[in-house]
């Protein structure tokens, strides 16, 4: 597993208080991990901070799964 994927999953585990095993790449933040819409905004904020990137609103709206987040951040790297 890449370093980016590990860091993303760590943030998701910490923020949503879910088990690491649940944080699969196809897991949807809202449907599978119990996030509400404000949680998804906060996750994006946390990713921005962790990776020192800007995630514009239109891109943020498309990040619905753990894998979406990893792929977006990789594309910025």
């Amino acid at each position: 597993m890449s370093d980016i994927a590990q860091r993303v999953k760590k943030i998701v585990v910490e923020h949503l208080g879910v088990e690491a095993a649940q944080v699969k790449e196809d897991a949807k933040f809202i449907d599978d991990l119990g996030a509400d819409s404000l949680d998804t905004v906060e996750l994006v904020m946390a990713f921005e901070e962790e990776f020192s990137i800007e995630i514009p609103d239109d891109a943020a709206e498309k990040i619905q799964t753990v894998g979406d987040a990893i792929n977006f951040i990789k594309s910025k790297g």
């Binding site: 509400d36 404000l38 905004v41 906060e42 904020m45």
Partner: protein
């Protein structure tokens, strides 16, 4: 009770009578304050009166980029933002038959959209810190209506509805959003009224006097305090009994 020591507060419209009283009261309770408004000289004069723990960031509330800059610069100056008081407001009064689109729009832009933009910009840090106090200064006429103020009352009523939505969105993050609705207060805004107008107003106020800015500021101190953690989405009316809602 109501100790604001260590809190960081931004007050818009601080060059006006009410805003200055609000900033002064928050500061007196120990908060660090950023004074915003359009008249830099008045803001600097207030800053000089307050002494330490005071900053000035002049900004125009009808300019989106300026509002973003205000949020960033005040957070940078104070090292955070715990309390946001949206007090900036203008009037462009006229009977509706004579009220121009641009005067309607201008009042909405400053009084309502400007407040929203500033809240949106301030929200990020508050969400991260899991705490925040947002107080929007509306007006009794936003609830009762007032002839000649269709634009102003629309904006002020808008603030109340907007605050309720924001309160629901942010409550789980320990951020409260409330309105404070002053009645008729003795400020430069009401000084321009004629004696006849003042007499007519006082006839509607059971307390038989105009309110003082510090009596409004005391309400803001309460809503901004840790003690007010369980009040959100509400409108606190301070109006000498003029409207009992």
């Amino acid at each position: 009770m109501f100790d604001l020591g260590g809190k960081k507060a931004l007050v818009t419209g601080a060059s006006g009578g009410l805003g200055a009283a609000i900033a002064t009261a928050l500061h007196a309770r120990g908060a660090t304050v950023t004074l915003s408004g359009t008249r830099a000289d008045a803001l600097e004069a207030l800053k000089a009166t307050l002494g330490e723990r005071a900053h000035v960031v002049a900004a125009r509330m009808d300019d989106a980029a300026d509002v973003d800059r205000l949020a960033k610069e005040s957070e940078a100056a104070m090292g955070g933002l715990d309390i946001l008081v949206n007090n900036a407001g203008i009037t462009r009064d006229n009977i509706s038959m004579r009220l121009k689109d641009e005067d309607f729009q201008k009042v909405l832009d400053v009084n309502l959209l400007g407040a929203f933009r500033l809240i949106r910009a301030a929200m990020r840090g508050m969400m991260k810190r899991r705490s925040g106090r947002i107080v929007n200064i509306t007006s009794v006429v936003g609830v009762t209506g007032n002839p000649g103020q269709a634009n102003y009352t629309a904006a002020k009523a808008g603030l109340i509805g907007m605050s309720k939505s924001l309160a629901q969105e942010l409550a789980s993050r320990n951020i409260t959003v409330n309105c404070l609705a002053p009645g008729f207060i003795a400020t430069p805004m009401t000084d321009v009224l004629t004696d006849e107008q003042k007499k007519a107003i006082l006839g509607r106020v059971p307390a038989e006097r105009l309110g003082r800015p510090d009596e409004i500021a005391a309400g803001v101190v309460y809503l901004a305090s840790d003690e007010a953690a369980y009040i959100t989405g509400q409108t606190l009316h301070i109006n000498g009994g003029m409207a009992m809602i």
